[in-house]
Symmetry: C2
Subunit: 293 residues, 2 copies
């Protein structure tokens, strides 16, 4: 029952990305190939899918063209991965079993490919098939969610600075809420705005996004401890090895699992009265929290 | 006669930047201090000034709030400088006589500070005090002007790849038009859009921007050969030392000077019938082309 939604969402997102990114033979080819290398590296397209299902829940059916908003969100997520993997940051050679962008194209092109994915995302957002008013609201939500104050970059900065220290619970929650949950929240909220959600619906979606965004990252922390590298498709146990701040390290496995489950319940409750059915949104939330890789 | 416009424009831009950037004590402080280090490093604010004067020429007086558009353009210019200076790219320790961002804050924070200035620029653009319709047109122009296809990042990529080769005139013009002129053009055009320019006025401003953008970079190339490091406030002769593609290297000094002068004449002609007087725009164009540092 869940699989068709995920599969449909991934296909729609991939087709939009294919259409909206410059081709591999467009000059300058190196940067366009580097962008595509990382964008088409087998991501689950979680943010676009959440965005599209939020739009569907508000409008009753998938709003025309919403997959372009999804594609822009995926470009932003990918830019952050390319820069996170750089030698000066996490120094990762592999992602999803493939060499990272800078391993294939060199650091200079990887930095510029990340920059360019951010730029391309805003070009796409400026041309979405919704009203200009909705477009500027969407751009504002996304810029905030990926910015330095309680947004993605802010979370990344505090995460970097917390390495090899033992951050307290408040700092850990700041990192998770900012680094991961803020863009997930923006994905859900902007899907709603695209579908003309009213203020109450936007706030329901925001609460839903915050809950599953934080739960998603707690589950990531848990899987790093409990799964093998083969199961994850990336190096397991890396957080422990690098003494990274995680929920299991701070609260233990059992408490972390309880926290994720409580957030899932809160997510369910948030979208209880959303409008046109919220089964798909709830299913995806459950899938994200109960996944094993 | 010229100085008041430049001085006024710089002050307006700096005040807007001060207001629109997170404060140095806002968490996480490192990235906000790094952003401010580079933004307040004594730049001439050429792009904001061109933008504001384009708006004034169209509207007859400075449109309210246009300095926020100028500030966003300066954030984008600064992000590109921070990333260009990184060890993986141009590896510059000094800019305008001050240590570059990564020399003070480290590579990781410099990468993220550059990213964040791009993000912050779009947040500012989404909230400009003009119509939502003008805002999305402005965002589209700026994203294109700083993107990979004939935009700033594209020019930077081709420039990097042309190092230590001997590019032909076509490649050199592509680099200069994309790396420098595209954002200068977007600055002039979006200033016009902010002031409700009609299609004909936008095209006049676009031609003006392209001409002075290319001329500006040719003059930069000339100054690198003819001036001392003290006069420039940066390392002179660097292009020759790194065998970089430049106009003087390809066409000689005399021919390069003629080309810049011809572009200046074309710029004058472009804004001949703009509307409310174009003296300030023409003065700035002349200042940019006849400057000695």
């Amino acid at each position: 029952m869940l699989t068709p939604t995920l599969e449909e969402g991934r296909k729609l997102t991939d087709a939009a990305l294919e259409r909206l990114l410059p081709g591999p033979n467009t000059r300058p080819t190196s940067v366009h190939r580097a962008m595509r290398h990382s964008v088409f590296a087998g991501g689950k397209r979680i943010r676009p899918i959440l965005c599209m299902e939020a739009g569907r829940a508000v409008a009753g059916s998938l709003p025309a063209g919403i997959e372009e908003l999804g594609a822009a969100l995926e470009m932003l997520h990918t830019y952050s991965l390319i820069h996170d993997d750089l030698p000066a940051l996490d120094n990762d050679d592999l992602r999803r079993g493939r060499p990272t962008c800078h391993k294939v194209y060199g650091e200079a092109i990887a930095i510029l490919a990340g920059d360019a994915l951010q730029t391309q995302a805003y070009e796409v957002l400026s041309q979405l098939q919704c009203s200009a008013d909705a477009r500027v609201r969407i751009i504002e939500e996304i810029a905030r969610g990926t910015g330095t104050v309680n947004g993605m970059i802010g979370g990344q900065v505090v995460d970097l600075e917390a390495e090899r220290t033992r951050p307290n619970a408040e700092t850990l929650e700041y990192i998770h809420r900012s680094k991961t949950a803020a863009l997930i929240t923006a994905s859900v909220v902007t899907g709603g705005i695209y579908a003309d959600a009213d203020a109450k619906q936007v706030e329901s979606l925001r609460r839903f996004g915050k809950a599953i965004g934080l739960a998603f990252q707690i589950v990531d922390d848990i899987l790093d401890v409990t799964q093998t590298s083969e199961q994850l498709g990336k190096t397991a146990g890396k957080d422990v090895a690098s003494e990274k701040a995680t929920y299991p390290a701070l609260f233990g496995l059992e408490e972390s699992r309880k926290k994720a489950q409580a957030l899932l319940e809160d997510a369910y409750k948030s979208v209880q009265n959303l409008g046109h059915g919220n089964e798909a949104l709830k299913n995806i939330a459950r899938f994200l929290i109960e996944r094993e890789s």
